[in-house]
């Protein structure tokens, strides 16, 4: 996209975007300040010692807006020295910090912290700061050529929108849930039951829908004109683009395919995702939370779903977009996509670890020319450790769960429903387990029977 542009030309190109971008941010903060000032919301943080001017939320928003307004002309200048950009050291640190292990563990830890301290993070002031930090991070990173290549690619623009929108909506839901949980602790009804005015379908709802329809259509037309879909060379069965990325909503699936056999990651697990989502109403015995936001009243359901959605789907989409480059290698977001980057990924099957590593002997192999039965038994012997491990995981673990951590759930749900839930949970957990095993031990397959296309 920026091929053949000199650095100055590239910066000019980015500047034409960044100038208006910072102005939009300034206006956003100005409007927030206006809103806070008119409604009297927000609070006074401190009083300036000499002049005695109170520093209110509105004042801070205005200051932030002025800051962006000052950044805007510098960003629009197109001069590398003037344009606000991420310091080189930070970029290096981020590049180093986005290896697979740090990225995956880091996102899990981040979500855990956000969840544990949700009461702090959902405060509008804190959320506003985070929101501004996200947008500022995007603006500062855009001057980096490699980052710009990824983020400004028309295919990837929806992912940037997805991250921002998802952050916003997750905040809205969590904010309301925290309020409702506090109200419930005080014995008050949830917010949603206060606001139960009947609204007429016609004209109220239909008008809203009409306006949304028109607005969305206008937005799509603008998008289609501003960011034309990329036209690529004709498809060829003997030529695959490098890297070859799935549509953005399937990047999670593509990431799963790296760790599993195609029929597992392409057929079984996606079907289980769909079936599992459909099974939720039948598995869920918790009647609370119907028609209002809450976390405390259905913590287990909330955590499982948010982990499955945010961690197993969204962060994998972000990973596939930002961190996967040529030859499906890991690259930092500010790293040049070098097609010849060498990464040692010498993967080993569990059977090889067991027979060659642990027992120090060769894999059991059927003598050549032996019958089908002999060959099959040799294969089963070879893969016995993996098969036992997998059977233990799926058969032995649910009863253990039932008598230990999930005792109460087992009593409430009964055998069949509990087994269903336990197995769905275990299947979901198998993906992160497999990912960690791959990254840490270079483990390829736990059961590897390539002779019959059966790998797990």
């Amino acid at each position: 996209m920026t091929h053949g542009l000199t650095d100055a030309q590239f910066l000019n190109k980015v500047a034409s975007f960044l100038g208006p971008y910072y102005i939009v941010l300034a206006v956003m903060n100005g409007l927030a300040a206006l809103y806070l000032w008119r409604t009297g919301l927000g609070r006074t943080w401190l009083r300036l010692p000499l002049v005695g001017i109170p520093v209110t939320s509105a004042f801070l928003c205005l200051a932030l807006g002025v800051f962006y307004a000052m950044l805007a002309p510098a960003a629009a200048s197109g001069n590398g020295a003037w344009m606000p950009s991420m310091p080189e050291a930070w970029r290096e640190a981020i590049n180093r910090g986005t290896g697979p292990v740090i990225y995956s563990v880091g996102t899990v830890a981040l979500l855990a912290v956000l969840f544990a301290f949700r009461r702090f993070f959902v405060q509008p002031a804190v959320a506003w700061i985070i929101w501004n930090a996200m947008l500022l991070f995007l603006g500062l990173s855009m001057t980096d050529r490699d980052f710009y290549e990824i983020v400004a690619k028309p295919d990837n623009v929806p992912i940037v929108m997805l991250v921002l929108l998802l952050a916003f909506f997750t905040w809205v839901a969590t904010y309301r849930a925290v309020i409702n949980d506090e109200r419930a602790a005080r014995g008050e009804p949830p917010l949603e039951s206060l606001d139960n005015d009947k609204v007429l379908v016609w004209p109220d709802l239909v008008y809203i829908e009409l306006i949304c329809m028109i607005g969305l259509t206008a937005f799509l037309i603008f998008w289609a004109i501003a960011l034309p879909a990329p036209l690529e060379e004709p498809a060829s069965s003997v030529k695959t683009p490098n890297p070859s990325k799935a549509p953005w909503y399937f990047l999670g699936l593509q990431e799963m395919l790296v760790y599993f056999d195609p029929w597992m990651a392409g057929v079984v697990l996606p079907s289980l995702i769909v079936v599992g989502l459909m099974a939720i109403p039948y598995i869920d015995f918790n009647k609370a939370g119907n028609g209002y936001y809450t976390i405390n009243q259905r913590k287990f359901a909330y955590l499982v779903f948010q982990f499955g959605f945010l961690e197993m789907w969204i962060t994998l989409i972000v990973l596939g977009t930002l961190l996967r480059g040529p030859n499906w290698n890991f690259f930092g977001p500010y790293e040049y996509w070098d097609a010849h980057k060498v990464e040692a990924l010498n993967n080993v099957n569990l059977s090889q670890y067991f027979w060659q590593g642990l027992l120090g002997r060769s894999l059991p192999t059927a003598p050549s020319g032996s019958s089908f039965g002999t060959q099959l038994s040799y294969i089963l012997l070879r893969e016995a450790p993996g098969i036992l491990l997998t059977l233990g995981y799926f058969i032995a673990l649910p009863p253990i769960m039932a008598i230990t951590v999930f005792r109460r759930y087992f009593q409430r749900m009964g055998l069949i429903r509990f087994m269903l839930m336990a197995n769905l949970l275990l299947f979901m957990a198998s993906l992160p387990i497999k990912m960690v095993l791959r990254w840490v031990f270079n483990l390829k397959y736990i059961i590897a029977i390539p002779e019959y296309f059966l790998n797990f």
């Binding site: 003997v238 070859s244 593509q254 392409g266 010498n346 790998n455």
Partner: protein, 354 residues
């Protein structure tokens, strides 16, 4: 004879009319009792009496609510309801006896025919009575014959229990008398059946034949005469064009193969690798600098001899059949593949020893 049978619509109407003319006097007294239920369709006078009877009831209500020059809609409805209050009693009672003559009796059917008559008799009316009249009809608009008959019969039933007097059947006119069955000959029927039968059979045979032909043609369509694929057997050149340690990439674009001259199990050989990843079927690239095949889709990597070593690919790349043709050139046959994990690379057809 006739009363044992079901009465026709015309008979019912006739009976109803007769009954009306007999019991007309009684109807007046009945309607006077419930002012709102003028149930006499054939006597407009009764209806005309009934209508004025309601009129005083309507102004009576606004008196309760003083100050209103014009009654509000609510008032009108209240008035109408007050006027109607007595009606259900009158209507409900006759409903039960009405069941007998009417095939499908409706409780309120009695009023149905009354309303038009009322409207004719007193065209100028206040809102209350119009509403009342309208409300009396359970189904406004045109009515079917059966409903009309039911209405008229039940109208009489309002007055007293209906005595169904079966009218003497008129003598059937000549044209209505059953004609003696025409002496039909058996033969023409048989002939016609034969004719249709055979035509039908022919049609079905034709249909079946055409369907079978279509099926066959569809099957044939799967095996076209022209195959727009490169031939599965092709020559790639003399063996000395493939020096040791080289991966020849120039056949990849057209044929989807690499011709490799390298060692496998310590034995130098020339073989043809299929350029399809064994994980999910993307086309890997040969990276000369790293001496490996690398798939761009999920990162599977293969050594130069095609053995998988990184990424998710579960098994090595496949080989195509290869041999030295009679003219000394190497000939690759894509119709046969050899899989390492099945031990097929030992097959001499899968390589050319160097």
């Amino acid at each position: 004879m006739a009363d044992k049978k079901k009465m026709s619509v015309a008979e019912m109407l006739a009976a109803a009319r007769r009954a009306d003319s007999k019991q007309g006097g009684l109807g007046d007294s009945a309607t006077d009792g419930n002012a709102d239920a003028p149930a006499e369709p054939s006597v407009p006078a009764a209806a005309a009496e009934a209508a004025p009877a309601k009129r005083p009831a309507a102004p009576a209500k606004p008196a309760v609510k003083p100050g209103g020059a014009r009654p509000s809609v609510a008032d009108m409805l209240a008035m109408a309801r007050a006027g109607k209050a007595a009606a259900p009693a009158a209507e409900a009672a006759p409903a039960a006896p009405a069941e007998k003559p009417a095939p499908k009796p409706k409780p309120a059917a009695a009023v149905k025919s009354a309303a038009p008559a009322v409207a004719e008799a007193a065209p100028a009316r206040d809102t209350a009575s119009i509403l009342a009249a309208a409300r009396k009809k359970d189904k406004p608009g045109p009515i079917s014959k059966a409903e009309a008959a039911a209405a008229s019969t039940s109208a009489t039933a309002v007055l007293e229990k209906p005595k169904v007097v079966a009218p003497p059947m008129p003598t059937k006119p000549a044209y209505a008398k059953p004609k003696p069955a025409p002496a039909v000959k058996a033969a023409p029927v048989e002939a016609r059946r034969d004719f249709f039968g055979s035509a039908m059979a022919a049609g079905f045979w034709l249909l079946g034949g055409v369907s079978a032909l279509w099926t066959l043609l569809t099957v044939k369509f799967m095996f076209p005469n022209v195959l727009r694929e490169p031939p599965s057997k092709f020559k790639v050149g003399f063996p000395d064009a493939f020096p040791a340690g080289q991966v020849q990439e120039k056949f990849k674009a057209q044929y989807g193969i690499w011709v490799v001259n390298t060692e496998y199990n310590g034995q130098p050989q020339i073989f043809a690798l299929k350029s399809v990843c064994t994980h999910l079927g993307c086309t890997p690239n040969w990276l000369e600098a790293e001496q490996k095949y690398k798939c761009p889709c999920h990162g599977s990597g293969f050594y130069k001899d095609g053995i998988n070593f990184e990424g998710p690919a579960p098994r090595p790349l496949e080989r195509y059949a290869i041999r030295i043709a009679d003219d000394g050139q190497i000939e690759v046959d894509k119709s046969r593949t050899f899989q390492e994990e099945m031990g097929a690379w030992e097959d001499p057809a899968s390589f050319i020893p160097v």
